[in-house]
């Protein structure tokens, strides 16, 4: 094969790979829209289900929307609170290139790959031991645990990229490690940190297995952290599992709503990243 044909062949292969990826996104959207759009109505997003456990074929899934947003936002904030300092601690200014940092990174990578049902089972066991009932709080904590490895490792990688020269600039002005880290490093890495947080949010809003046992399910909107809460992935799961075609259609409509929330979020992050990128030094 001559070099020219090689070139062409690889070009075709690369474009084909891209088409598979983008095409599957559109296929997912198409299936969800085709099956769910007829069941979509304004009441879907403004009412809680009528007739227990989504079986009434009426009302909406407001309980699941609110529950999912509570869960995802709550867990993201909680995870962020722990992950940012943890990611900073992994940098060379702190534990850096020590053996400890190596093992911390290794265990985070293992945690990242741990199936979420394992987190759910773990959370459930601890909650049983503590005598806690399935609740929003339990779900938020378990989801935060699930998100932390993702956040810490993603932030770790972006913070590592902040150049030494930039840190030197801060140190030469007489800044301490903390001032340099908080004032310069975090600012420079901000777009990456926001991406890490949103990645974790996406994981949080889409995960079903970990909250199945810890948050439970309900038709009501939770009024406190100690109430059980509904969630969109479980709403899809339960409705799709019924033998009634109308309810199954409503499952697709719920999936569509979940998809819209995720898409809107990533659009928002794109729009916001411009603002975050403004001051970045290249």
């Amino acid at each position: 094969m001559d070099r020219h044909t090689e070139e062409k062949l690889f070009r075709v292969l690369m474009i084909a790979s891209l088409l598979i990826v983008v095409g599957s996104l559109f296929a997912v959207i198409a299936v969800v829209v085709m099956n769910g759009v007829s069941a979509l109505s304004i009441s879907m997003i403004t009412q809680t289900p009528k007739g227990g456990y989504y079986l009434g074929k009426e009302g909406g899934i407001l309980n699941a929307i609110v529950g999912s947003l509570y869960l995802a936002a709550g867990s993201m904030l909680l995870a962020l609170l722990v992950s940012l300092p943890a990611a900073l601690a992994l940098q060379r200014e702190y534990i850096g290139k020590s053996k400890a940092a190596y093992y911390v990174r290794l265990s985070l990578d293992v945690l990242w790959g741990t199936p979420s049902i394992v987190y759910g089972a773990f959370g459930f066991t601890v909650m049983l031991y503590l005598g806690m009932r399935a609740s929003l709080l339990g779900g938020i904590i378990v989801l935060a645990l699930l998100q932390m490895p993702i956040m810490i490792r993603t932030m770790d990688e972006v913070i590592k990229l902040v150049s030494v020269e930039l840190k030197e600039a801060s140190y030469t002005l007489g800044a301490t490690r903390l001032e340099t880290t908080a004032g310069v490093v975090v600012r420079q890495a901000l777009p990456g940190i926001v991406t890490a947080a949103l990645l974790a949010f996406g994981r949080g809003i889409g995960d079903a297995a970990s909250i199945l046992l810890t948050t439970g399910y309900t038709d009501r909107i939770p009024s406190s952290l100690f109430d059980p809460a509904a969630s969109l992935p479980l709403a899809v799961f339960f409705q799709l599992g019924t033998p009634f075609p109308e309810v199954q259609q409503r499952a697709y409509a719920s999936a569509l709503i979940l998809l819209v929330i995720v898409l809107a979020l990533s659009m928002l992050s794109r729009a916001m990243s411009k603002k975050f990128m403004r001051n970045i030094i290249r």
Partner: protein, 328 residues
């Protein structure tokens, strides 16, 4: 002449490699001290020892004493942030912070406790004026520092460094990334600033050292081979290595007696032709040879030195051609 920085027996090791050997030198107050020497001779390492930025580099051991106003900078017990505040650093490439122009200058002020908005405004304006940047940025103080040109960024770094009111300004080849006009601008600022600050400037550029320096330190392979008044060291160096270094960089001013174009010739023919051409010259005369064979770049100078001639300079002049200057 009062000594501001007194360096005694400074040694620095990167692992096994000794980057600085027994450096002892006194840097005078409120003058410009130029540190000259070829690449890799330890100039930058020396500068980084002065404000202990070397701490950020892994696997470095430093010993000796660096006394600034009676405090040993290398003493682990001292408050290093205070030492660093006293020494501004102007880096090789400008490194603005990821924030607005205003915040870049205010950053140091804020960490050292200036919170009052009015005081901040005044100081930011004052130091931007000193650095000669105010007129260019006064209408866009809130825009990102990264948007400035490289030359403007370097002046911003100067303003930022001056804002924390240092006593010493360290410059690590501060104009090497700048265009000639911006370089000139920075040089002028440094000359003005030398009335009030002790300035240490690392430079590759002998001309720059001549224009700026009151005092010159010549580093070679991690050692100080000569130091003294600029006029003495630069015009009448005592050390052979200093003389060679200064002559090498002064080459543009050396009179070329004959020029031979050997482009298109391969080794060893270009060497043979160069030898023939040199044969016709009187001893002491200088010949410039242009070659485009990559092998000739190393082989011709080596052969000439082996024959007892002196190779003054080897320099790439464009993408394919090299000039080799030989003295018979």
């Amino acid at each position: 002449m009062k000594t501001h920085i007194n360096v005694q027996n400074l040694n620095a090791f990167y692992g096994e490699h000794q980057a600085l050997r027994n450096i002892s030198v006194e840097i005078p107050e409120k003058q410009i001290t130029a540190i000259i020497g070829p690449s890799g001779c330890g100039k930058s390492t020396f500068l980084k020892c002065l404000n202990r930025l070397i701490d950020l580099t892994e696997g470095v051991r430093v010993s000796g004493k660096i006394l600034v106003d009676g405090t040993d900078v290398l003493d682990r017990g001292i408050e290093i942030t205070e030492v660093r505040r006293k020494m501004g650093l102007l880096p090789q490439r400008p490194n603005p912070l990821p924030m607005s122009i205003y915040d870049n200058v205010a950053y140091g002020l804020r960490i050292h406790g200036t919170r009052d908005r009015k005081a901040l405004n005044e100081k930011v304006e004052h130091y931007l004026k000193i650095a000669g940047l105010w007129d260019e940025v006064k209408d866009r103080l809130r825009s990102p520092a990264a948007k400035l040109s490289i030359g403007q960024q370097q002046r911003l770094c100067l303003a930022r460094g001056l804002a924390v009111e240092p006593e010493i300004i360290l410059c690590d080849e501060p104009t090497s990334a700048l265009d000639p006009l911006s370089s000139q601008h920075i040089e002028q600022q440094l000359l003005k600033l030398s009335e009030r600050y002790t300035i240490v400037i690392v430079t590759h550029n002998i001309h720059q050292a001549m224009r700026l320096a009151d005092y010159v330190v010549h580093f070679y392979l991690g050692e100080v081979v000569e130091h003294g008044e600029a006029s003495e060291v630069l015009e009448n160096p005592k050390d052979e290595r200093t003389r060679a270094y200064i002559n090498g960089t002064f080459l543009t001013q050396i009179k070329i007696d004959t020029e031979v174009n050997l482009k298109g010739n391969k080794c060893p023919f270009n060497f043979v032709y160069a030898k023939q051409a040199l044969h016709n010259l009187e001893p002491g005369k200088v010949m410039r040879v242009i070659v485009d064979d990559p092998m000739a770049v190393t082989e011709v100078p080596r052969g000439m030195e082996a024959d007892g001639h002196k190779v003054l300079n080897v320099k790439q002049i464009n993408s394919t051609d090299w000039a080799i200057v030989i003295q018979k």
